[in-house]
Amino acid sequence: MKTTHWKEETRTQHSHRLSACFLLPATLLFSALAPGSPARAEEPLWGKSASTLGKGFFNVNTEGRMMESRPYNHHGGPVSLTIKRMEAGLMLEYGLQPDVDLSLSLPYFSETIEQRFNGQMNRDEMAGMGEMEIGAKWRFNQSISDSHKDEFALITGLKLPTGDSRMRDSDGSLIDPHLQPNSGNLGGRIGLAANRHSALYRHWLSVMVGAEAGSTRYQRGSTLEVDASSGRRVRRLTRHNQTDWMGLVGLHYRLMGKERENGRALSDSGGSLLAAEVSLLSSSGTRGLRLGVLFPLTSNLGQSDAPLKQEIQASFRASF
Protein backbone atom coordinates (compact mmCIF):
# COMPACT_ATOMS: atom_id res chain seq x y z
CA MET A 1 0.00 0.00 0.00
CA LYS A 2 1.03 3.55 -0.58
CA THR A 3 1.77 6.01 2.20
CA THR A 4 -1.45 7.06 3.85
CA HIS A 5 -2.55 9.64 6.36
CA TRP A 6 -3.78 7.70 9.39
CA LYS A 7 -6.84 8.97 11.22
CA GLU A 8 -8.42 8.21 14.55
CA GLU A 9 -10.64 5.14 14.08
CA THR A 10 -13.58 6.60 15.94
CA ARG A 11 -13.85 9.60 13.63
CA THR A 12 -14.55 7.58 10.49
CA GLN A 13 -16.43 4.57 11.78
CA HIS A 14 -19.82 6.26 11.88
CA SER A 15 -19.90 7.38 8.27
CA HIS A 16 -18.88 3.93 7.08
CA ARG A 17 -21.73 2.34 9.01
CA LEU A 18 -24.07 4.85 7.47
CA SER A 19 -23.01 3.99 3.95
CA ALA A 20 -23.26 0.24 4.64
CA CYS A 21 -26.65 0.66 6.26
CA PHE A 22 -27.88 2.66 3.32
CA LEU A 23 -26.48 0.63 0.45
CA LEU A 24 -27.84 -2.80 1.30
CA PRO A 25 -31.47 -1.70 1.75
CA ALA A 26 -31.14 0.48 -1.33
CA THR A 27 -29.90 -2.47 -3.34
CA LEU A 28 -32.68 -4.69 -2.04
CA LEU A 29 -35.24 -2.00 -2.78
CA PHE A 30 -33.86 -1.61 -6.28
CA SER A 31 -34.21 -5.36 -6.68
CA ALA A 32 -37.75 -5.45 -5.35
CA LEU A 33 -38.94 -2.62 -7.58
CA ALA A 34 -37.82 -4.27 -10.79
CA PRO A 35 -40.61 -4.97 -13.29
CA GLY A 36 -42.80 -7.90 -12.27
CA SER A 37 -43.52 -10.70 -14.69
CA PRO A 38 -42.98 -14.47 -14.79
CA ALA A 39 -39.77 -14.92 -12.89
CA ARG A 40 -37.18 -17.64 -13.24
CA ALA A 41 -36.45 -17.46 -9.56
CA GLU A 42 -35.93 -21.11 -8.76
CA GLU A 43 -32.20 -21.11 -9.37
CA PRO A 44 -29.23 -20.93 -7.01
CA LEU A 45 -27.63 -17.57 -6.25
CA TRP A 46 -24.13 -19.01 -6.56
CA GLY A 47 -23.31 -21.20 -9.52
CA LYS A 48 -24.83 -21.70 -12.93
CA SER A 49 -28.00 -23.33 -14.11
CA ALA A 50 -28.32 -25.42 -17.25
CA SER A 51 -31.91 -24.28 -17.83
CA THR A 52 -32.61 -21.94 -20.71
CA LEU A 53 -35.33 -19.36 -21.10
CA GLY A 54 -37.07 -20.55 -24.24
CA LYS A 55 -37.04 -18.87 -27.63
CA GLY A 56 -38.01 -15.21 -27.62
CA PHE A 57 -38.13 -14.86 -23.83
CA PHE A 58 -36.38 -11.99 -22.16
CA ASN A 59 -35.21 -12.14 -18.58
CA VAL A 60 -34.20 -9.28 -16.33
CA ASN A 61 -32.27 -10.20 -13.25
CA THR A 62 -31.43 -7.60 -10.64
CA GLU A 63 -29.25 -8.51 -7.73
CA GLY A 64 -27.69 -6.96 -4.70
CA ARG A 65 -24.61 -8.46 -3.11
CA MET A 66 -22.68 -7.57 0.04
CA MET A 67 -19.28 -9.13 0.66
CA GLU A 68 -17.14 -8.62 3.71
CA SER A 69 -13.65 -9.92 4.34
CA ARG A 70 -12.08 -10.80 7.64
CA PRO A 71 -9.28 -8.43 8.70
CA TYR A 72 -5.97 -9.74 7.32
CA ASN A 73 -2.37 -8.63 7.36
CA HIS A 74 -1.71 -7.66 3.81
CA HIS A 75 1.38 -9.50 2.48
CA GLY A 76 2.04 -10.52 6.11
CA GLY A 77 2.97 -6.95 6.98
CA PRO A 78 1.85 -4.81 9.93
CA VAL A 79 -1.10 -3.21 8.14
CA SER A 80 -4.41 -4.98 8.62
CA LEU A 81 -6.96 -4.68 5.79
CA THR A 82 -10.68 -5.23 5.77
CA ILE A 83 -12.52 -5.06 2.46
CA LYS A 84 -16.24 -4.47 2.22
CA ARG A 85 -17.94 -4.48 -1.11
CA MET A 86 -21.50 -3.86 -2.26
CA GLU A 87 -22.67 -4.70 -5.73
CA ALA A 88 -25.84 -3.91 -7.58
CA GLY A 89 -26.05 -5.81 -10.80
CA LEU A 90 -28.35 -5.99 -13.75
CA MET A 91 -28.32 -9.05 -15.94
CA LEU A 92 -30.25 -9.24 -19.18
CA GLU A 93 -30.85 -12.62 -20.77
CA TYR A 94 -32.47 -13.43 -24.08
CA GLY A 95 -33.60 -16.78 -25.40
CA LEU A 96 -32.24 -16.89 -28.95
CA GLN A 97 -33.37 -20.48 -29.44
CA PRO A 98 -35.24 -22.88 -27.17
CA ASP A 99 -31.83 -24.17 -26.06
CA VAL A 100 -29.59 -21.11 -26.51
CA ASP A 101 -29.49 -18.05 -24.25
CA LEU A 102 -27.44 -14.89 -24.57
CA SER A 103 -26.69 -12.70 -21.58
CA LEU A 104 -25.20 -9.37 -20.65
CA SER A 105 -24.35 -8.42 -17.09
CA LEU A 106 -23.77 -4.87 -15.93
CA PRO A 107 -22.37 -4.59 -12.41
CA TYR A 108 -22.00 -1.50 -10.27
CA PHE A 109 -19.96 -1.64 -7.09
CA SER A 110 -19.10 0.34 -4.02
CA GLU A 111 -16.01 -0.84 -2.14
CA THR A 112 -14.36 0.22 1.06
CA ILE A 113 -10.84 -0.77 2.03
CA GLU A 114 -10.09 -0.16 5.67
CA GLN A 115 -6.44 -0.14 6.73
CA ARG A 116 -5.59 -0.42 10.41
CA PHE A 117 -2.16 0.20 11.85
CA ASN A 118 -1.20 0.94 15.44
CA GLY A 119 -4.79 1.73 16.50
CA GLN A 120 -5.30 4.15 13.66
CA MET A 121 -7.45 3.64 10.64
CA ASN A 122 -7.60 4.88 7.10
CA ARG A 123 -10.47 4.21 4.79
CA ASP A 124 -10.48 4.29 0.98
CA GLU A 125 -13.82 4.30 -0.74
CA MET A 126 -14.32 3.48 -4.37
CA ALA A 127 -17.42 3.20 -6.47
CA GLY A 128 -18.17 2.77 -10.13
CA MET A 129 -18.94 0.40 -12.90
CA GLY A 130 -17.59 -3.13 -12.61
CA GLU A 131 -16.60 -5.52 -15.33
CA MET A 132 -19.29 -6.29 -17.88
CA GLU A 133 -19.70 -9.83 -19.07
CA ILE A 134 -21.25 -11.10 -22.28
CA GLY A 135 -22.31 -14.70 -22.04
CA ALA A 136 -23.86 -17.54 -24.01
CA LYS A 137 -25.42 -20.77 -22.84
CA TRP A 138 -26.14 -23.80 -24.95
CA ARG A 139 -28.31 -26.46 -23.37
CA PHE A 140 -27.05 -29.40 -25.36
CA ASN A 141 -29.04 -32.09 -23.65
CA GLN A 142 -32.46 -32.27 -22.04
CA SER A 143 -34.36 -35.37 -21.02
CA ILE A 144 -37.84 -35.19 -19.56
CA SER A 145 -39.75 -37.94 -17.82
CA ASP A 146 -42.91 -37.82 -15.71
CA SER A 147 -40.90 -37.65 -12.50
CA HIS A 148 -37.95 -35.42 -13.38
CA LYS A 149 -36.11 -33.33 -15.93
CA ASP A 150 -32.34 -33.49 -16.54
CA GLU A 151 -30.47 -30.76 -18.36
CA PHE A 152 -26.86 -30.18 -19.38
CA ALA A 153 -25.41 -26.97 -20.75
CA LEU A 154 -22.18 -25.46 -22.00
CA ILE A 155 -21.67 -21.95 -20.66
CA THR A 156 -19.22 -19.33 -21.90
CA GLY A 157 -18.55 -15.76 -20.87
CA LEU A 158 -16.40 -12.93 -22.12
CA LYS A 159 -15.39 -10.37 -19.48
CA LEU A 160 -14.78 -6.92 -20.86
CA PRO A 161 -12.24 -4.47 -19.42
CA THR A 162 -14.91 -1.99 -18.41
CA GLY A 163 -14.84 0.20 -15.34
CA ASP A 164 -11.94 2.11 -13.89
CA SER A 165 -8.91 -0.08 -13.15
CA ARG A 166 -6.75 2.79 -11.94
CA MET A 167 -8.60 3.98 -8.88
CA ARG A 168 -6.88 6.15 -6.33
CA ASP A 169 -6.93 6.17 -2.55
CA SER A 170 -7.92 9.06 -0.30
CA ASP A 171 -4.47 10.64 -0.79
CA GLY A 172 -4.72 10.52 -4.56
CA SER A 173 -2.19 7.70 -4.98
CA LEU A 174 -2.89 4.79 -7.30
CA ILE A 175 -4.12 1.75 -5.40
CA ASP A 176 -2.06 -1.40 -5.96
CA PRO A 177 -3.31 -3.25 -9.07
CA HIS A 178 -4.22 -6.43 -7.16
CA LEU A 179 -6.43 -4.39 -4.81
CA GLN A 180 -8.20 -2.61 -7.65
CA PRO A 181 -11.82 -3.74 -8.02
CA ASN A 182 -11.39 -3.97 -11.81
CA SER A 183 -8.43 -5.60 -13.49
CA GLY A 184 -8.64 -3.75 -16.80
CA ASN A 185 -8.06 -6.97 -18.75
CA LEU A 186 -10.16 -9.07 -21.08
CA GLY A 187 -11.15 -12.38 -19.58
CA GLY A 188 -13.00 -15.52 -20.49
CA ARG A 189 -14.91 -18.26 -18.72
CA ILE A 190 -16.11 -21.62 -19.93
CA GLY A 191 -17.79 -24.47 -18.14
CA LEU A 192 -20.50 -27.04 -17.84
CA ALA A 193 -23.72 -27.02 -15.83
CA ALA A 194 -26.13 -29.81 -15.01
CA ASN A 195 -29.55 -29.80 -13.32
CA ARG A 196 -32.07 -32.31 -12.12
CA HIS A 197 -35.54 -30.96 -11.41
CA SER A 198 -38.44 -32.90 -9.94
CA ALA A 199 -41.74 -31.96 -8.36
CA LEU A 200 -40.18 -31.43 -4.92
CA TYR A 201 -36.42 -31.30 -5.40
CA ARG A 202 -33.92 -29.41 -7.52
CA HIS A 203 -30.21 -30.12 -7.84
CA TRP A 204 -27.61 -28.00 -9.62
CA LEU A 205 -23.96 -28.61 -10.38
CA SER A 206 -21.64 -26.39 -12.37
CA VAL A 207 -17.92 -26.26 -13.06
CA MET A 208 -16.40 -23.14 -14.60
CA VAL A 209 -12.81 -22.23 -15.43
CA GLY A 210 -11.70 -18.69 -16.09
CA ALA A 211 -8.59 -16.91 -17.29
CA GLU A 212 -7.55 -13.38 -18.10
CA ALA A 213 -5.49 -11.94 -20.89
CA GLY A 214 -2.16 -10.79 -19.60
CA SER A 215 -0.84 -7.29 -19.29
CA THR A 216 2.45 -6.02 -17.95
CA ARG A 217 0.65 -4.11 -15.21
CA TYR A 218 -1.55 -6.85 -13.76
CA GLN A 219 -3.11 -10.21 -14.49
CA ARG A 220 -5.51 -12.11 -12.28
CA GLY A 221 -4.81 -15.78 -11.74
CA SER A 222 -6.82 -18.46 -13.49
CA THR A 223 -9.86 -19.69 -11.56
CA LEU A 224 -11.79 -22.88 -11.07
CA GLU A 225 -15.29 -22.65 -9.64
CA VAL A 226 -17.29 -25.69 -8.58
CA ASP A 227 -20.82 -25.07 -7.33
CA ALA A 228 -23.27 -27.66 -6.05
CA SER A 229 -26.69 -26.81 -4.62
CA SER A 230 -29.83 -28.70 -3.69
CA GLY A 231 -33.23 -27.25 -3.02
CA ARG A 232 -36.44 -28.62 -1.61
CA ARG A 233 -39.84 -27.14 -2.25
CA VAL A 234 -41.93 -26.57 0.87
CA ARG A 235 -45.13 -27.62 -0.88
CA ARG A 236 -45.82 -29.37 -4.16
CA LEU A 237 -47.11 -27.17 -6.91
CA THR A 238 -50.78 -27.91 -7.41
CA ARG A 239 -52.05 -24.52 -8.61
CA HIS A 240 -50.75 -22.27 -11.34
CA ASN A 241 -50.75 -19.21 -9.09
CA GLN A 242 -49.66 -20.57 -5.73
CA THR A 243 -46.69 -19.13 -3.86
CA ASP A 244 -43.68 -21.37 -4.25
CA TRP A 245 -41.15 -21.53 -1.41
CA MET A 246 -37.90 -23.40 -1.64
CA GLY A 247 -35.10 -23.83 0.86
CA LEU A 248 -31.66 -24.37 -0.59
CA VAL A 249 -28.24 -25.44 0.66
CA GLY A 250 -25.04 -25.52 -1.32
CA LEU A 251 -21.29 -26.04 -1.30
CA HIS A 252 -19.06 -23.77 -3.37
CA TYR A 253 -15.38 -24.24 -4.08
CA ARG A 254 -13.06 -21.64 -5.56
CA LEU A 255 -9.48 -22.26 -6.65
CA MET A 256 -7.48 -19.20 -7.67
CA GLY A 257 -4.10 -19.16 -9.37
CA LYS A 258 -1.26 -16.75 -8.75
CA GLU A 259 -1.72 -13.16 -9.81
CA ARG A 260 0.93 -11.29 -11.77
CA GLU A 261 1.74 -7.69 -11.05
CA ASN A 262 4.24 -5.53 -12.91
CA GLY A 263 5.53 -8.55 -14.77
CA ARG A 264 6.14 -10.85 -11.81
CA ALA A 265 4.01 -13.38 -9.97
CA LEU A 266 2.70 -12.45 -6.54
CA SER A 267 4.00 -15.37 -4.53
CA ASP A 268 1.46 -14.91 -1.72
CA SER A 269 -1.57 -14.70 -3.99
CA GLY A 270 -4.08 -17.34 -4.99
CA GLY A 271 -5.35 -20.27 -3.00
CA SER A 272 -8.66 -21.95 -2.38
CA LEU A 273 -11.92 -21.40 -0.56
CA LEU A 274 -14.73 -23.77 0.33
CA ALA A 275 -17.96 -22.08 1.36
CA ALA A 276 -21.48 -23.13 2.32
CA GLU A 277 -24.66 -21.49 1.18
CA VAL A 278 -28.10 -21.24 2.75
CA SER A 279 -30.77 -19.62 0.62
CA LEU A 280 -34.49 -19.09 0.42
CA LEU A 281 -36.21 -18.79 -2.92
CA SER A 282 -39.75 -17.69 -3.46
CA SER A 283 -41.95 -16.98 -6.43
CA SER A 284 -45.54 -15.94 -6.44
CA GLY A 285 -47.49 -15.28 -9.59
CA THR A 286 -45.31 -12.91 -11.53
CA ARG A 287 -42.55 -12.20 -9.02
CA GLY A 288 -39.58 -14.13 -7.77
CA LEU A 289 -37.17 -13.31 -4.99
CA ARG A 290 -34.00 -15.01 -3.75
CA LEU A 291 -32.03 -14.35 -0.62
CA GLY A 292 -28.91 -16.22 0.40
CA VAL A 293 -25.91 -16.19 2.70
CA LEU A 294 -22.50 -17.66 1.89
CA PHE A 295 -20.04 -18.34 4.66
CA PRO A 296 -16.59 -19.91 4.41
CA LEU A 297 -15.89 -23.41 5.74
CA THR A 298 -12.20 -23.63 4.90
CA SER A 299 -9.97 -20.98 3.44
CA ASN A 300 -6.42 -21.36 2.17
CA LEU A 301 -5.62 -18.03 0.61
CA GLY A 302 -2.33 -16.23 0.29
CA GLN A 303 -1.71 -13.02 2.24
CA SER A 304 -2.35 -10.75 -0.69
CA ASP A 305 -5.97 -11.86 -0.97
CA ALA A 306 -8.82 -10.94 1.34
CA PRO A 307 -10.30 -13.95 3.18
CA LEU A 308 -14.10 -14.00 2.96
CA LYS A 309 -16.02 -13.45 6.16
CA GLN A 310 -19.48 -13.64 4.64
CA GLU A 311 -21.41 -12.80 1.54
CA ILE A 312 -25.09 -11.92 1.39
CA GLN A 313 -26.92 -11.87 -1.86
CA ALA A 314 -30.46 -10.92 -2.83
CA SER A 315 -31.93 -11.09 -6.26
CA PHE A 316 -35.13 -10.31 -8.04
CA ARG A 317 -35.89 -11.79 -11.44
CA ALA A 318 -38.49 -11.08 -14.06
CA SER A 319 -39.02 -12.31 -17.59
CA PHE A 320 -41.09 -11.12 -20.50
Partner: protein, 174 residues
Protein backbone atom coordinates in the same frame (compact mmCIF):
# COMPACT_ATOMS: atom_id res chain seq x y z
CA UNK B 1 -77.74 4.15 -20.87
CA UNK B 2 -76.36 4.04 -24.42
CA UNK B 3 -73.12 2.47 -23.14
CA UNK B 4 -75.06 -0.05 -21.09
CA UNK B 5 -77.02 -1.12 -24.17
CA UNK B 6 -73.84 -1.45 -26.23
CA UNK B 7 -72.19 -3.43 -23.44
CA UNK B 8 -75.23 -5.70 -23.16
CA UNK B 9 -75.25 -6.27 -26.95
CA UNK B 10 -71.55 -7.03 -26.97
CA UNK B 11 -72.06 -9.41 -24.06
CA UNK B 12 -74.84 -11.24 -25.89
CA UNK B 13 -72.76 -11.43 -29.08
CA UNK B 14 -69.81 -12.74 -27.13
CA UNK B 15 -71.96 -15.34 -25.43
CA UNK B 16 -73.44 -16.46 -28.77
CA UNK B 17 -69.98 -16.68 -30.27
CA UNK B 18 -68.76 -18.90 -27.43
CA UNK B 19 -71.90 -20.98 -27.42
CA UNK B 20 -71.68 -21.60 -31.18
CA UNK B 21 -67.96 -22.35 -31.14
CA UNK B 22 -67.02 -25.51 -33.02
CA UNK B 23 -63.83 -26.05 -31.03
CA UNK B 24 -64.67 -25.38 -27.40
CA UNK B 25 -61.29 -26.12 -25.90
CA UNK B 26 -57.95 -27.74 -26.57
CA UNK B 27 -55.72 -29.15 -23.89
CA UNK B 28 -52.07 -30.01 -24.45
CA UNK B 29 -49.96 -31.76 -21.85
CA UNK B 30 -46.45 -30.38 -21.28
CA UNK B 31 -43.64 -32.40 -19.74
CA UNK B 32 -40.87 -30.73 -17.77
CA UNK B 33 -42.94 -28.05 -16.03
CA UNK B 34 -41.52 -28.36 -12.52
CA UNK B 35 -41.63 -24.79 -11.23
CA UNK B 36 -43.78 -21.68 -11.15
CA UNK B 37 -41.62 -19.88 -13.68
CA UNK B 38 -41.91 -22.89 -16.01
CA UNK B 39 -45.66 -22.73 -15.60
CA UNK B 40 -45.76 -19.04 -16.45
CA UNK B 41 -43.40 -19.55 -19.36
CA UNK B 42 -45.77 -22.16 -20.75
CA UNK B 43 -48.65 -19.72 -20.33
CA UNK B 44 -46.71 -17.00 -22.17
CA UNK B 45 -45.77 -19.35 -24.99
CA UNK B 46 -49.41 -20.31 -25.50
CA UNK B 47 -50.51 -16.68 -25.33
CA UNK B 48 -48.19 -15.95 -28.23
CA UNK B 49 -50.33 -18.16 -30.44
CA UNK B 50 -52.52 -15.72 -32.33
CA UNK B 51 -55.31 -18.26 -32.43
CA UNK B 52 -55.54 -18.43 -28.64
CA UNK B 53 -58.32 -16.54 -26.92
CA UNK B 54 -58.00 -17.75 -23.34
CA UNK B 55 -55.27 -19.80 -21.68
CA UNK B 56 -55.42 -21.69 -18.42
CA UNK B 57 -52.47 -23.58 -16.98
CA UNK B 58 -53.22 -26.55 -14.80
CA UNK B 59 -50.89 -28.70 -12.75
CA UNK B 60 -50.63 -32.41 -12.01
CA UNK B 61 -50.46 -33.29 -14.84
CA UNK B 62 -49.08 -30.07 -16.27
CA UNK B 63 -51.16 -28.89 -19.16
CA UNK B 64 -52.31 -25.82 -20.99
CA UNK B 65 -56.01 -25.41 -21.73
CA UNK B 66 -56.68 -23.13 -24.65
CA UNK B 67 -59.92 -21.63 -25.92
CA UNK B 68 -59.33 -20.93 -29.62
CA UNK B 69 -60.29 -17.56 -31.04
CA UNK B 70 -63.57 -17.86 -32.95
CA UNK B 71 -63.75 -21.53 -32.02
CA UNK B 72 -61.49 -22.42 -34.94
CA UNK B 73 -59.51 -25.62 -35.26
CA UNK B 74 -55.85 -25.22 -34.25
CA UNK B 75 -53.39 -27.61 -35.85
CA UNK B 76 -51.57 -29.83 -33.39
CA UNK B 77 -48.20 -28.91 -34.89
CA UNK B 78 -48.64 -25.28 -33.86
CA UNK B 79 -49.45 -26.29 -30.30
CA UNK B 80 -46.50 -28.66 -30.10
CA UNK B 81 -44.16 -26.03 -31.53
CA UNK B 82 -45.29 -23.50 -28.91
CA UNK B 83 -44.62 -25.96 -26.10
CA UNK B 84 -41.22 -26.92 -27.55
CA UNK B 85 -40.22 -23.30 -28.04
CA UNK B 86 -40.72 -22.68 -24.34
CA UNK B 87 -38.40 -25.61 -23.60
CA UNK B 88 -40.91 -28.30 -22.67
CA UNK B 89 -41.96 -31.66 -24.05
CA UNK B 90 -45.36 -31.66 -25.75
CA UNK B 91 -47.65 -34.49 -24.74
CA UNK B 92 -51.19 -35.67 -25.46
CA UNK B 93 -53.60 -33.21 -27.09
CA UNK B 94 -57.28 -33.30 -26.24
CA UNK B 95 -59.94 -31.46 -28.25
CA UNK B 96 -63.52 -30.71 -27.23
CA UNK B 97 -65.48 -30.03 -30.41
CA UNK B 98 -69.04 -29.49 -31.61
CA UNK B 99 -70.45 -30.53 -34.97
CA UNK B 100 -72.60 -32.82 -37.09
CA UNK B 101 -71.99 -36.50 -37.61
CA UNK B 102 -71.04 -37.58 -41.10
CA UNK B 103 -68.83 -40.07 -42.88
CA UNK B 104 -65.41 -39.74 -44.51
CA UNK B 105 -64.20 -42.59 -46.70
CA UNK B 106 -66.46 -45.01 -44.86
CA UNK B 107 -65.29 -43.83 -41.42
CA UNK B 108 -67.32 -42.08 -38.76
CA UNK B 109 -66.49 -38.38 -38.79
CA UNK B 110 -67.62 -35.06 -37.40
CA UNK B 111 -67.99 -31.89 -39.45
CA UNK B 112 -67.36 -28.86 -37.27
CA UNK B 113 -70.20 -26.37 -37.03
CA UNK B 114 -70.11 -23.68 -39.72
CA UNK B 115 -66.87 -25.05 -41.14
CA UNK B 116 -65.57 -27.49 -43.74
CA UNK B 117 -63.20 -28.99 -41.18
CA UNK B 118 -63.68 -32.72 -40.80
CA UNK B 119 -62.45 -34.84 -37.92
CA UNK B 120 -62.37 -38.62 -38.14
CA UNK B 121 -63.57 -40.36 -34.99
CA UNK B 122 -62.24 -43.58 -33.59
CA UNK B 123 -62.97 -45.59 -30.46
CA UNK B 124 -60.62 -45.25 -27.53
CA UNK B 125 -59.69 -48.42 -25.73
CA UNK B 126 -60.75 -47.31 -22.28
CA UNK B 127 -64.10 -45.77 -23.37
CA UNK B 128 -65.43 -47.69 -26.41
CA UNK B 129 -69.08 -47.15 -25.41
CA UNK B 130 -68.90 -43.43 -26.23
CA UNK B 131 -67.88 -44.22 -29.80
CA UNK B 132 -70.55 -46.95 -30.06
CA UNK B 133 -73.25 -44.38 -29.17
CA UNK B 134 -71.94 -42.06 -31.88
CA UNK B 135 -71.98 -44.80 -34.49
CA UNK B 136 -75.53 -45.76 -33.49
CA UNK B 137 -76.67 -42.13 -33.73
CA UNK B 138 -75.06 -41.82 -37.17
CA UNK B 139 -76.86 -45.00 -38.28
CA UNK B 140 -80.22 -43.65 -37.07
CA UNK B 141 -79.52 -40.23 -38.55
CA UNK B 142 -81.29 -38.50 -35.66
CA UNK B 143 -78.41 -36.57 -34.09
CA UNK B 144 -78.69 -32.81 -34.61
CA UNK B 145 -75.38 -32.01 -32.97
CA UNK B 146 -72.70 -33.83 -31.07
CA UNK B 147 -70.12 -32.62 -28.62
CA UNK B 148 -67.03 -34.78 -28.63
CA UNK B 149 -64.06 -34.85 -26.33
CA UNK B 150 -61.24 -36.82 -27.87
CA UNK B 151 -57.52 -37.40 -27.87
CA UNK B 152 -55.63 -36.67 -31.03
CA UNK B 153 -54.20 -39.77 -32.66
CA UNK B 154 -50.72 -38.61 -33.58
CA UNK B 155 -49.95 -40.45 -36.77
CA UNK B 156 -52.90 -39.23 -38.88
CA UNK B 157 -53.03 -35.57 -37.97
CA UNK B 158 -50.84 -34.26 -40.80
CA UNK B 159 -51.41 -33.54 -44.48
CA UNK B 160 -54.77 -33.59 -46.25
CA UNK B 161 -56.05 -36.48 -44.21
CA UNK B 162 -58.44 -35.17 -41.55
CA UNK B 163 -57.15 -35.34 -38.02
CA UNK B 164 -58.26 -38.35 -36.05
CA UNK B 165 -59.70 -38.14 -32.56
CA UNK B 166 -60.09 -41.08 -30.23
CA UNK B 167 -63.41 -40.42 -28.53
CA UNK B 168 -63.31 -40.16 -24.75
CA UNK B 169 -66.72 -38.56 -24.17
CA UNK B 170 -69.72 -37.81 -26.37
CA UNK B 171 -72.88 -35.79 -25.78
CA UNK B 172 -75.51 -36.32 -28.44
CA UNK B 173 -78.36 -33.84 -28.90
CA UNK B 174 -81.33 -35.06 -30.95
Amino acid sequence: MKWLTIAALLGILGFQSAAGAQVKSITINAGGVFCMSCSHRLEKAMQRLECADQIKIKMEPNRAELTPRGGKWVAADRLRAAVKTAGFKPGAIRYTIDGKLTQWQGQTALQLQGSEQLVVLQPRGEAPQAFDRIRDALGRGDAASVEIEGLLAEEKSKGKTPPVLQVVRAEISP
